[in-house]
């Protein structure tokens, strides 16, 4: 009995790693750039399809395809910010919401048009099914690898944001856009780089989501919901909080799934609501 629950909690923690990866990009754009990207989930799904296409066309492992796609998503994020989102941020809170909502619909319909409504998964060869035997537990290599990656990403991005020069620039612009422009630190350029970094996280999320779960053209909004709950649970602007939020949501879902299939998602939402009511500022808030 205890072993069963211990096992579930371990599975939940590992799932939480994946959720944290989903949420990382959203955490950056909400916490640092102060705007909510409604299309975040759809961008993840879009890049999953891109990875599928690249891996199939070039006959390469999807992890290799990921390395090829990361520069593309950096450039994609950079250009999206520079060409489109830059025009709408800062004027009102509503405008970026509407524009990214529009993008979400465009991406979903574009994917339906291009790939149909079938569900897909990504495959990384033998990594998909291999498992580790630790003590009395069996855990999949892929979930463990995902979790380790999530921790590494959180630490890496935390370092980038709080220890590197570009991170200081991003925080400066988040502090006071007008002051940055006034002294000659171009906020347009910094925002674009930040969105390029978000693009990198989207590619990584797309790859590991596709390896763990089914996706189809309309999976985006449910991914966004997970990412959003994780960010709010963890606290805006805190990347470590994002990891913690992911873990809590992952555990809630696996334990809920034990009761009943329908409870899996519901338990996640309930835990989110309860924690949100008790600690609206999130668990490890930065602001």
């Amino acid at each position: 009995m205890i072993a069963t629950y211990a096992n579930l909690i371990i599975q939940g923690i590992l799932l939480g790693g994946l959720y944290a990866i989903f949420a990382l990009g959203l955490s950056l754009s909400v916490g640092v750039m102060r705007f909510v990207n409604i299309a975040h989930g759809d961008f993840i799904v879009l890049v999953s399809f891109l990875l599928l296409t690249v891996a199939t066309a070039l006959h390469i492992n999807v992890l290799l395809a990921l390395l090829l796609v990361i520069p593309l998503t950096f450039a994609g994020g950079y250009l999206l910010q520079r060409v489109l989102l830059q025009r709408v941020i800062g004027q009102s809170v509503l405008l970026p919401l509407l524009v990214t909502f529009g993008l979400s619909i465009i991406v979903q319909n574009g994917l339906l048009e291009g790939f149909g409504a079938d569900t897909h998964t990504l495959s990384a060869g033998s990594l998909d099914t291999s498992s580790l035997h630790i003590g009395s537990f069996y855990v999949g290599v892929l979930p463990v690898a995902t979790f380790v990656l999530a921790v590494a990403l959180v630490l890496g991005f935390d370092w980038l944001l709080y220890r590197s020069r570009i991170g200081a620039n991003i925080r400066a612009v988040a502090d006071d856009v007008a002051a940055a422009d006034l002294i000659g630190l171009s906020s347009v350029r910094i925002y674009a780089i930040a969105m390029g970094i978000v693009g990198v996280t989207v590619a990584i999320a797309a790859c590991f989501m596709g390896l763990r779960m089914n996706f189809d053209a309309t999976s985006g909004p449910s991914r966004l919901l997970v990412a959003f709950e994780v960010v709010v649970l963890g606290g805006l602007g805190s990347l470590r909080g994002t990891l913690l939020g992911g873990i809590i949501l992952g555990i809630a879902q696996t334990l809920g799934g034990q009761i009943d299939g329908a409870w899996q998602v519901l338990a996640g939402h309930l835990v989110f609501l309860v924690i949100f009511l008790l600690r609206p500022q999130g668990l490890l808030p930065r602001y």
Binding site: R165, A179, G184, L185
Partner: protein
Amino acid sequence: MTSPTDAPLLSIEGLSVYYQQFRALHGIDIAVGPGEIVSIIGANGAGKSSLLKAIVAQVDRIEGRIRFAGEDIASRPTPAIVASGIALVPEGRRLFPSLTVEENLEIGRQIGRKGGGVGFAEIFDLFPVLRDKRRQPAGQLSGGQQQMVALGRALLTDPRLLLCDEISLGLAPTVVNDLYTLLLSINRRGIGVLLVEQDIRRSLAIASRFYCLLEGRISLAGRPGDFDRDTITRHYFGS
């Protein structure tokens, strides 16, 4: 009225500044010679900040010419202007409050002239209090200390021309005295200073020339010693 040195560091001709339909400056001429301290005085809303912001390309629209070190900079973007050697200490300091003192200063070095000769050590020698506070968020410093960071950030760009917008505002008289002493020592290194102040007495005491702005126009210009107090006050308030 005396003309500045033969080849001015900064020369502005016929500068007008517009915010949409509103015209804040009406075709003014201003020059700053190399290593000169020039003071701009004027009442609230006279257009002093608009002048400094126009120099660094941070206003909606301008007309007229702005030449710096012989080059036309009127059409350049702000980062290029700063990188060519003009640094602004903005009105109200405008530090990044959540960044540490050191991070604020580092941004100055990053946006400035490349291969510049000014280092952190020099800034900390000028402002010894900042050395102990360098890991503290800038927002936690006192007003005077924040003004030192703002000045330090500008100096780290290794400027040839420093634009100071009301650096004494809201500071205790002793702190202002220290800042002005510092400005003089900065100036002695050959850095030109364009000093905007509402406090006439203090800024005229260290300037070699001044311009008085009234409702977007120059109402009086020359050497501080050329005019008596009454004349200057009259042109300041426009009565």
